[in-house]
Amino acid sequence: MEDTTEAEQIYGEHSSPIRRLLRVLIRDPAVAEDLTQEAFLHFWQRPTLFDPGRASLRAYLFGVARKKASEWRRRQAAAGQTGEVVRTVEADEPFLITDILNRLPCDHREILWLREMEGYSYQELADMLQIPLGTVRSRLSSAREHMRLVWSERKGCL
């Protein structure tokens, strides 16, 4: 990516969704910000790895971001940390729904976000997450049901 103007355009268009997904996956805004930068740098340093015939640029960047998040979690696990930031979940979330989302398992958070916010079809989710179509259905179903149970409970308490 030798043209900085093009880089700025791509960054302006795709950085917010990537950052939001990473915030959902990592639950630490500072780390999510760093990983967003890393994902874009990865793309700019190796632009030829992106094949427009296989996926859209957004889907490719989501893939890179997910990989960065997994690497970060692995590093945290190796360092003896959980890779989950409880402080953020407990204190910083102003919305009930995102607070509940943050408490779901990582694979549930990820698939729910990609479906609800990014609007990927079941087939696209299967390709992106590299899981069978049936798994997409069942994972989405259990994620939504999990979220609904907590949501109903919490709404009842308000």
Binding site: E2, Q37, F40, L41, T98, M117, R137, S141, R144, R148
Partner: protein
Amino acid sequence: MTCQEVAVFVTALYDGENVPRAAGEHIFECQGCRSKLKDYSEMGVDLRLAASIQVEPTRTPTAMLDRAGCGTSRPWAFLWQRMSVPRYTVLVLLCLLAVSIAAIPLGRKQSRDGFCSVSRRMNVERPCFGSRPRMVMIISKF
């Protein structure tokens, strides 16, 4: 069909996917499943609403590119970053090349000394000024 059996199809229906006729009939008649659909819809709206609050980027891409050495201000650094072969292997090869270039005059000097000693052994009187005339002299001696 039971509510548990159609659970997957409730989600699929909410997502606009096609569901089998039997599952559709159950969902149409079952209050519990319809209530789930309504909840999913509300949760979806809440999620999108929460996410509509944009997070502003803290770093500009130009600054990021510069930080990574990909900016136009440092093209050599960009090339260095993009190099697909191991960078330090290239560095070592460049060092070896530099050393071998530096060693050429030294080698010439040594070879001149070598010819001189040969010419001394062969009683050639002419002093050694260069390799080629010496060679001619040595050959002409034979």
